[in-house]
């Protein structure tokens, strides 16, 4: 962070981290082995879930036909799968600030395995499910997900409770992106210039989630109460509370032109401490105080064109966000912004998916009156294709290529726009 408190030079590093250590995503062949279903049964284009996959997930990883309890599987069945993406990524960044002025830099990593996931998921008994994901990333292990879910409480599909480290119910999962090399869904993690809040809608949170849904998950609602992940000075147990909600309704139109449509709303109100006791400069757990708010809310729309077995799926998400001025040192007003994304996934045949996403964040009100309104505005497009070479009930592997470009406007008047373009090619496999 610069002396003025504005993060002028950190974003290229963040981008590179995102590029070379992309967010892990799910496709769980353990389910395929258990139920003898190929990945195409649950995934529109893996790892993106289709209607059947969403219903399976919402039912607590159950088909509800008497074959879900662990005692119904052969003793040798182990609910574990692995996913890796050996990949090559090349990034060219223009106007990169350096000690010697602005430069164009190029970086690349040759078929490295930046991260891999151990995906353990399934049922602990009837109507009790779990997900445990230790992920190896940047040379270290982390527990990406760890939760238990009590399903169909009081015999109602509207009463499911998840406890633990979980991803909130986003319009498009940050952990199930089709893209691998881009900067992700920009709107999820964006903050106005200088904000100290580290809240990221796409980050997994410690807390409780209630999910309710009807048959086929045509109508569903989810509410998460959590302690904001990464909060300094937090002692957990909701000392830095946040709440997220999401509700959707889907129309199964069964038309040849449009097979389904979905509308939804979502929002989050989270806090972040602005003062805490420190030791050697590090926040002491449990001392975070003076909580200040970040808020996000938005709408989403989905259209599935053509047959739902080979759909063209368009997703539009529009959101608005604000961070309290108290989260931004020296700010004179709240920082607010608009943004969202348009994503299109086209699967003309089961093995191949072309995808495109346009991400955008536009500042509406800068927290600093002297900052240009467009400072730190971000625009990203991602285009790619994914071809699955083989999918079976045991394993799957796919070739994945994409190109993405992220433009970030200068943080101050006169600062140039920085553009980072990334070419990514990898082999995505899970077993």
């Amino acid at each position: 962070m610069s002396e003025s408190g504005r993060p002028r030079r950190l974003w290229p590093i963040v981008l590179l981290l995102l590029v070379f250590f992309p967010a892990s995503s799910f496709a769980i062949p353990a389910f395929a082995r258990k139920y003898q279903l190929r990945c195409t049964a649950c995934h529109e284009a893996w790892p993106v879930l289709n209607d059947f996959g969403r219903a399976f997930r919402d039912n607590g990883y159950q088909l509800l036909l008497g074959r879900d309890n662990p005692t119904t599987t052969p003793p040798g069945y182990w609910p574990v799968a692995f996913r890796l993406v050996p990949s090559y990524a090349y990034t060219r960044t223009t106007n990169q600030p350096t000690d010697d002025g602005l430069k164009t830099i190029s970086t690349g990593a040759g078929f490295s395995v930046g991260a891999f996931d151990v995906l353990s998921a399934g049922t602990l008994g009837r109507n009790a499910s779990f997900l445990f994901v230790p992920a190896f990333d940047s040379g270290e292990w982390e527990i990406e997900s760890a939760w238990v879910r009590f399903d169909n409480l009081r015999s109602s599909s509207w009463l499911n409770l998840k406890l633990g480290h979980h991803e909130v119910d986003l319009p498009r999962s940050a952990h199930r992106p089709i893209d691998q090399g881009s900067g992700g869904f920009l709107i999820y993690g964006y903050h106005p210039l200088g904000s100290e809040s580290g809240y990221d809608m796409g980050a997994n949170q410690d807390g409780v989630e209630w999910v309710g849904h009807d048959r086929g998950s045509r109508n569903r609602v989810a509410v998460s109460l959590f302690n904001v992940d990464g909060s300094p000075g937090s002692k957990g147990a909701f000392s830095t509370p946040g709440v997220y909600f999401h509700a959707t309704h889907e129309w199964a139109l069964d038309s040849l032109a449009i097979s389904a449509a979905k509308l939804g709303v979502f929002g989050a109100d989270t806090t972040w401490p602005t003062s805490f006791a420190t030791l050697d400069g590090e926040p002491i757990e449990g001392t975070g105080t003076d909580l200040k708010h970040s808020r996000r809310y938005g709408v989403e729309g989905h259209l599935w064109f053509g047959p739902n077995a080979t759909p063209l799926h368009a997703i539009l998400v529009a959101a608005r966000g604000s961070d309290s001025r108290d989260l931004i040192p020296d700010a004179t007003r709240d920082g607010t912004f608009d943004g969202g994304y348009l994503e299109v996934l086209y699967t003309p045949q089961l093995r191949t998916t072309a995808f495109f996403r346009y991400d955008m964040v536009r500042n509406r009100t800068q927290a600093f009156e002297d900052a240009p309104r467009s400072a730190n505005d971000q625009t990203q497009f991602t285009i790619g294709v994914r071809h699955t070479l083989s999918f079976t009930t045991r394993a799957e592997y796919a070739l994945h290529g994409e190109y993405s470009s992220l433009r970030t406007k200068g943080a101050a008047a006169g600062e140039p726009t920085v553009t980072a373009s990334t070419l990514f090619f990898g082999v995505d496999f899970a077993f």
Partner: protein, 262 residues
């Protein structure tokens, strides 16, 4: 210049996809009829791993599933509303696909939508020449169910003994009769006699579903049709007796997605 290139690439991508989609939509005219060509893709996405590329029930998962996935080539289906030996109606197959089959690996495909289900049924009908050679008869008539009473249950028990149901289903209905261990279906695979006390039935748990099984039989299995042996009122008595064998919570429906089953 960069902005322009971004817009050009995005525009090109959308035009490409819109063109592809329009072509696909126009070739599949918006007629309401099910389409086997579309159904083939649905089949490959959802069904092939168990039922196999040739519809022979020998997909890669077929050897690991009991009971085995249906072999579509004979055009023989257990759960029907049509008389014994006949082909099922489209609605019969749609019911099986929509609700799944409790206790087997056949999931509920409610979520994929009616059009996809009907398209895949049209494709399944290409596996057997029977669908081209035979008419599908009308479903059997199911008269209104009389009230279950102690007398009707006792009469049902007497019929259960008279028809020697216990040979397969056992004296207490637990599916452990003396013949139950040697049962095979018409494909030569072992088959279990239904446990009538479990509280769920593969064919559906409603009284009408159970009645229908008595009158239509289960094609390809040792379970015959009793339409020539018993009268409708006797079939209802059997239904009442069968339902009395389950002493736990209320009989559940065959598991629709999203509903718990006790």
């Amino acid at each position: 210049m960069k902005n322009l290139s971004h817009r050009l690439i995005a525009t090109a991508f959308f035009v490409l996809m819109a063109t592809s989609w329009t072509r696909g939509a126009s070739s599949a005219a918006p007629a309401p009829a099910a389409d086997a060509t579309r159904g083939k893709v649905v089949y490959e996405r959802y069904c092939l791993s168990c039922h196999g590329e040739d519809g022979d029930g020998r997909g890669e998962g077929g050897d690991w599933i009991f009971p085995r996935p249906r072999d579509f080539r004979q055009g023989m289906f257990k759960w029907r509303s049509t008389p014994s030996g006949a082909l099922p109606t489209v609605l019969d197959l749609d019911k099986t696909i929509t609700d799944g089959v409790y206790g087997t690996h056949m999931p509920t495909w409610y979520a994929i939508g009616e059009r996809s289900r009907h398209d895949v049924i049209a494709y399944i009908q290409t596996f057997s020449p029977r669908w081209r050679a035979e008419e599908i008869p009308a479903p059997i008539a199911i008269p209104p169910e009389p009230a279950a009473t102690g007398d009707s249950i006792a009469a049902g028990k007497a019929l259960f003994d008279k028809l020697e149901c216990a040979k397969c289903h056992g004296d207490t209905g637990r599916g452990d009769g003396p013949s139950s261990h040697d049962l095979r279906d018409d494909w030569g695979d072992p088959i279990a006699a239904a446990d009538l006390t479990a509280g769920h039935f593969k064919c559906g748990g409603s009284p009408a579903d159970i009645y229908r099984v008595f009158m239509t039989g289960l094609n390809g299995t040792p379970m015959p049709s009793y339409v020539d042996s018993i009268k409708p009122e006797e079939a209802w008595q059997l239904v009442h007796y069968i339902r009395s064998l389950h002493t736990g919570p209320d009989l559940p429906d065959v598991g629709p997605a999203g509903r718990p089953i006790h």
